[in-house]
C-alpha cells in the first residue's frame, strides 16, 4: 500500500472541490469509513479556507498541498502551504447567537477542526507551514 497520497493545487476557492474529491476517493480506495472521510473533508475545507484567507493574503496565491498518510489505526492529513505562517490556536466555542443571526464570527472553522479531529498540530519550517491533523480509525 502507498504510504502517502498527495494532491497540490493553487490556494484558491476554486480548488476546494478538488481537495474534497481527493479525500473522498482516497478514503474509498483505502476502505476508510465514510464518517471518517466526511470528517477529513470538513476539516480540510476549513483549514484550506484559512490558508486562502490568511496564509496568502496580499500575494498571488501559491500552492496548497494535501497529504493523506494512512497508518494502522489512524489517518494523518497534512495541509501545507508556503505563505504567511498562521497558527490555528484552539478557539473558544463560537457565539451561537451570532451564527444564528448570520453575523460575522471568527474561529468557527478552527472550532470545527478541533471538534472533528483527534489531534491538531502546527509547525513552520524550511518546507513551509504544516497543519497536521490526525483521525483515529476505531
Amino acid at each position: 500500500m502507498r504510504d502517502t497520497f498527495i494532491l497540490t493545487r493553487a490556494a484558491e476557492l476554486n480548488s476546494l472541490p478538488a481537495f474534497g474529491d481527493f479525500i473522498k476517493r482516497t478514503c474509498a480506495e483505502l476502505g476508510i469509513p465514510q464518517e471518517t472521510s466526511f470528517a477529513l473533508q470538513l476539516a480540510c475545507d476549513e483549514a484550506a479556507m484559512n490558508v486562502i484567507q490568511h496564509g496568502y493574503a496580499g500575494m498571488n496565491p501559491g500552492s496548497l498541498m494535501l497529504e493523506l498518510r494512512p497508518q494502522p489505526n489512524q489517518i494523518v492529513m497534512v495541509i501545507s502551504d508556503f505563505g504567511h505562517p498562521f497558527e490555528p490556536v484552539e478557539p473558544a466555542a463560537p457565539d451561537v447567537n451570532a451564527l444564528l443571526q448570520d453575523q460575522p464570527t471568527t474561529g468557527f472553522g478552527l472550532y470545527l477542526i478541533y471538534q472533528t479531529m483527534d489531534d491538531v498540530q502546527y509547525y513552520s519550517d524550511e518546507q513551509g507551514n504544516h497543519l497536521v491533523l490526525t483521525k483515529r480509525l476505531s
Binding site: A11, M65, F82
Partner: protein, 267 residues
C-alpha cells in the same frame, strides 16, 4: 562542519580550504554530464572542457560552470546556489545547453548589451529565429536534456547539507513548467499559472490575444508550452492585467508536489 542535524550553509562550505569545498561541490555536477563531454570527474578537466568553481570565502553563493571549449565566455552548464534571507537555499541560475547546437543571440541586443536572457532588453530578430528553431525563451541553444540528472544531484547535495527544500524564481513560463515536472510547488504564482492556462483556452482573453500581431503571438501558440512561453515573453499577459513577475517555486527534498498547471501539456 558542525552538528550533522543542523543545516549547513553555502557560506560555511565556502569557508573551507579549496580542496575540501571542491570535494563537496563535486556532488552538484552529474556524472552523466562529465561522461558525455569526456571530463575527468576528479580533475574536472578533459577534452578541452574545464569545470570552473567560483566560491570565494565569506561569500554566500557558489557558481559552477563548464564553458564551451571554443569560447571561454560561453558557458553551456551553469549552476548557481545562494543562501537566502530565510535560512534556506535559492537556486539562482541553471543553464543546460548543448554546446554543439546552433547559438542564438538572444542574450545580447543589437547594440551589444546583455539582455539578461531577454528579461531586461530584447533582441527580437534573434528571439524570432530561436522560436522558429524550436527553442523556448531564454534559451541560447537547444537544451542538453539533463535536467533530471541535475536535479537528482541537487537533491543529493541538499540532503548532505541537511536541507529540506530549495527555492527559485522561474525565468519563463517554460521553465516554470519544467520545474513543475521536477516536483516543485509554488510559493507565489500558482493561481497565476492556473489563470494563464484557463485564459489560453478557446474563448479566453489570452487565446484572443494570439492575433498574429507580432511573430511571437502565433494563433496556435496556446497549444504548447513553448508557444505560450514566447507569447508571454512578448507581453501577452497584459491582456489579463498581469505580468510575468514575482513567481517563486519551492521543492521539498524527496517529495514530488505533483503540480500540473497545463494538464496533458505538449512542450
Amino acid at each position: 562542519m558542525g552538528d550533522a542535524q543542523y543545516p549547513i550553509s553555502i557560506r560555511t562550505i565556502n569557508s573551507l580550504p579549496h580542496d575540501a569545498k571542491q570535494r563537496i561541490y563535486r556532488m552538484l555536477v552529474p556524472p552523466e554530464l562529465l561522461t558525455r563531454f569526456g571530463i575527468n570527474p576528479i580533475l574536472w578537466r578533459g577534452s578541452g572542457h574545464t569545470v570552473e568553481l567560483y566560491a570565494p570565502p565569506d561569500s554566500s553563493s557558489v557558481n559552477l560552470s563548464i564553458n564551451n571549449p571554443a569560447d571561454a565566455h560561453d558557458a553551456y552548464f551553469t549552476l548557481e546556489l545562494k543562501d537566502n534571507a530565510t535560512n534556506g537555499i535559492d537556486l539562482n541560475l541553471i543553464l543546460l545547453n548543448d554546446p554543439t547546437a546552433e547559438k542564438f543571440g538572444i542574450d545580447y541586443d543589437a547594440e551589444g548589451k546583455a539582455t539578461e536572457w531577454g528579461t531586461m532588453t530584447r533582441n527580437l530578430a534573434e528571439e524570432e529565429r530561436a522560436m522558429r528553431a524550436g527553442l523556448a525563451p531564454a534559451q541560447v541553444r537547444a537544451g542538453l536534456g539533463m535536467s533530471r540528472e541535475v536535479f537528482h544531484q541537487l537533491d543529493v547535495f541538499l540532503a548532505f547539507c541537511s536541507r529540506q527544500a530549495i527555492s527559485l524564481e522561474p525565468l519563463t513560463y517554460a521553465s516554470a513548467w519544467i520545474f513543475e515536472k521536477r516536483g516543485f510547488a509554488y510559493v507565489r504564482g500558482h493561481k497565476l499559472m492556473d489563470d494563464i492556462h484557463r485564459e489560453f483556452q478557446p474563448g479566453g482573453k489570452l487565446h484572443a490575444a494570439l492575433d498574429n500581431s507580432t511573430p511571437l503571438r502565433q494563433p496556435d501558440a496556446w497549444r504548447t508550452v513553448r508557444g505560450r512561453a514566447w507569447a508571454i515573453q512578448d507581453g501577452i499577459l497584459e491582456a489579463i492585467g498581469e505580468r510575468w513577475r514575482d513567481l517563486r517555486m519551492i521543492k521539498v527534498i524527496g517529495k514530488h508536489a505533483g503540480v500540473e498547471t497545463f494538464p496533458g501539456a505538449v512542450y
